[in-house]
Symmetry: C2
Amino acid sequence: MTTIFDAPEDFAATALAGFAELYSRHVRLVRGGVVRATAVPKGKVSVVVGGGSGHYPAFAGYVGPGMADAAVAGDVFASPSTAAVARVCRQAHRGGGILLGFGNYAGDVLNFGVAAERLRSEGIDVRIVPVTDDVASAPAEAHAKRRGIAGDLVVFKIAGAAAEAGLSLDEVERIARRANDRTVSFGVAFDGCTLPGAGGPLFSVPEGRMALGLGIHGEPGIKEEAIVSARELAGLLTGKLLAERPAGARRVAALLNGLGSTKYEELFVLWTTISRLLKDAGLEIVAPEAGEFVTSLDMQGCSLTLTWLDGELETYWKAACDTPVLKRGGEIRTVPATDTIANEDATPVFGPASAGSKEGAACIARLVGHVADALRDAEDELGRIDAQAGDGDHGQGMRRGSAAARDAIEYAVTAGAGAASALAIAGDAWADRAGGTSGAIWGLLLRAWSNALSDEDGMDEAAVVRGARLALDGVTRLGRARVGDKTLVDALVPFVETLEAAFAAGKPLKAAWADAAEAARAAAVATAGLTPKLGRARPLAERSIGHPDAGAVSLALVAGVVGASL
Amino acid sequence: MTTIFDAPEDFAATALAGFAELYSRHVRLVRGGVVRATAVPKGKVSVVVGGGSGHYPAFAGYVGPGMADAAVAGDVFASPSTAAVARVCRQAHRGGGILLGFGNYAGDVLNFGVAAERLRSEGIDVRIVPVTDDVASAPAEAHAKRRGIAGDLVVFKIAGAAAEAGLSLDEVERIARRANDRTVSFGVAFDGCTLPGAGGPLFSVPEGRMALGLGIHGEPGIKEEAIVSARELAGLLTGKLLAERPAGARRVAALLNGLGSTKYEELFVLWTTISRLLKDAGLEIVAPEAGEFVTSLDMQGCSLTLTWLDGELETYWKAACDTPVLKRGGEIRTVPATDTIANEDATPVFGPASAGSKEGAACIARLVGHVADALRDAEDELGRIDAQAGDGDHGQGMRRGSAAARDAIEYAVTAGAGAASALAIAGDAWADRAGGTSGAIWGLLLRAWSNALSDEDGMDEAAVVRGARLALDGVTRLGRARVGDKTLVDALVPFVETLEAAFAAGKPLKAAWADAAEAARAAAVATAGLTPKLGRARPLAERSIGHPDAGAVSLALVAGVVGASL
């Protein structure tokens, strides 16, 4: 279990600070991440990677010449916030554009995706490559739906080497995608792991058993079997991966990864049979690695990753790099970075706005204030609903996020911002302070809605209705949830559809909104009867059957509060 | 627990083979160890390190330019055999002499010590530096009695850098001793570890508790307390070490070591407070490291090591190195090694011998044959006695060792060897095949005894009696056991003293030997009433109270068999 910590909520940030101090030759600390401590040529593509903490050396240990330019670190097993991703990217950017790499998980897809949109709006070219190597999480024909596990290291190593070689963003993206397309992993777990401060393990595997394909946060695997000998385990791991060997693949990169409590000597024993089996299959193994590359706190288990190399991928897999976790090739000459770490909390500056739009901003600020009050009052109740399915922090996140949004928009109104800018900055504040997936969703929702408004024109009712559709589009596109998944989308879809229909039928906004809020309320209640979307760990997710979804409930609550105040 | 293995008895050797395959750029496999894969200049001092397996990266992960030339690997948590140490040293030697480094444990002291004597007899200059850094194992005034834990890495790193710089063996030894004298470590364990194939953990720590100063094989610590916060733990670790800060120490090397299941992020959190406390104490921290450097399979816990630097030690601590576990500084240019791995099982060649000595050899061979028969018959009984205190493999080791000794001496007699050479080679064969501490002791006993004999002269009774004293001296000097420790020495001392007294009083050898064998028998029986010497783990050792010691019993048994056949 995780035994050494002070306040559990500070664990990830403190660990990152300790890491940055120990590896000051490699990295410098930015809030929420690290960037290289060595100078990077102007115009070089920046490779920025990241994800939740608890997986060291993923992701901070990957930063250095020949690999990543920066890493963003979320809380333990939680995606970094959109703001953290954007902040680290801005610091790392050298004018050549950014490749964002992360494992394919909903929270990361969302936060990295929203951050990419923000950065693009600032004129930075950003490409996204989610790693999808875990063969246990989806079939081969749905490669893009797979989760990312230890394949992260291989894909980021290859992408980082391509960027270091001076290739363009188009080329680095192409090579990273090809590396991901040709990378497969399969793992087993013998026992679970314990979050800092938790009373018990996040999940466990029965004694003497192993869970095949269990995810690095305890996501359900494909089956459970009795623990087998090292030889049989080697056969199992290689068999699963060789089944996906593409025609003509002759050379392969191999990575045998320990999850935390499975130690080096066990991996070395396992490797003796894996290497024989790969050779027996006619494969040439190129620069294999065995060790700890993507851990899960103290989880017990291991995974095997294979990347089917072509000449180009092999060149970048073998290229020199110098990071805390992986050093290859000859000396890479570096000089210390001289750019200063940017002041992260600069006061926002707003463009000019019309009187009508300023009036709209003040109106929105009043509504956000009511929402913040209502969510403060509902914190405990939302927490109780969320605890049926999740970790019970939904009420806390909604309270924190809405309060931050209220403060931000009040400041914006005082500073003379127009409606669009005011709502956008309220959304950003919500996402950054609330944290988690729901914080990111609400930030995205408000920011997308603001795109229908304007700082020049006055606010009209049709623009508000158009904004609702943009909000829904943004949330479903980046959040990937669909109706029936038991998320906020279950309430948002009927809300938007009812709003549009009633408004199109000639009702004024206030009446149309009331209809929509009622539709959202009914839908939120109905989520109690839906089969839940499987969460991180099966035992937790199963508890949510028969209970309404907290995200849908809070959407309905906010819709009702706003409707009553229009 | 250790989960991945095939036959448990092959675990260490298979792990070493897998390691050597993965790190073929760094090392080449020799039976029982690894040597550098890169060429080493002629005349350079060779730094050879080693100890039991289960501690990776100790010790094979330390091999490479700037650090060790070779590593010897014993079975899990067991010293390598004398033969393995000697074999790896011969392969590594480049004419500049050898510095042998290992943690201060009885089995390692014995096997490395005997190997050093063998190598010296072959004309190789060998120096020994046992690492003694664990402040929990003995008080500061008995520094040389302390156990070696993670300080191994710092001492070997500094010694290796001094050797790489081209210093003489005298200088490398002096610097290694100084590094050891100025290195202190203190650790805590939160939970035990499980040997491959074992039904349960070797030892455990109660839930919510931590054992202060527990050794890396579960040796008793100094006390047990409730687990504290990271800040308090940092205070505890640094406090213990700062108490031994020498006058004038201003600069310090620091190593924060995880034992296996305590993960990187926990170490990084802990480091933030440790570094502050060291700085508050006015110390400058030089090139600190946090990670896994001396593990104990999956043990949960950590240790802090400090080395009080002077200018010389700092130079070598910071010097470049390129090993699997530690890479420092700029590129070290190397070329692959071109020497061939020696044929390890070369047929022994014997010098000329007189007819009388050959006759003596045949007589000894007959006695060794009787001993091997008796030990084969006694295997189960000796195993049962040993299981009261140890792991129950004593009978097996004695059977294997004596059979190997019989085969070796029969071959020697056929090849025309004299008595001294024949007995010496019988001892070597016993040690190499029996393994463990008792195998090494018996090999040493026979080899030391052979020094009283000669290949030129015939064998006389006085020489046999002189040999008994030499055997006792060798065993007590290198084995470090005293009467009352509940070991073979308890029976050997009365045996030798009675033999000498009876022979001096004019009895013929056969009668004197009969008296001596009876004294050994009585002493072996009496060990049942002795307080046992504390073994590796307290719970095991406590089981031995009231039972005779298997080592003393087998000494008495052999003495009786030989006496009856004289």
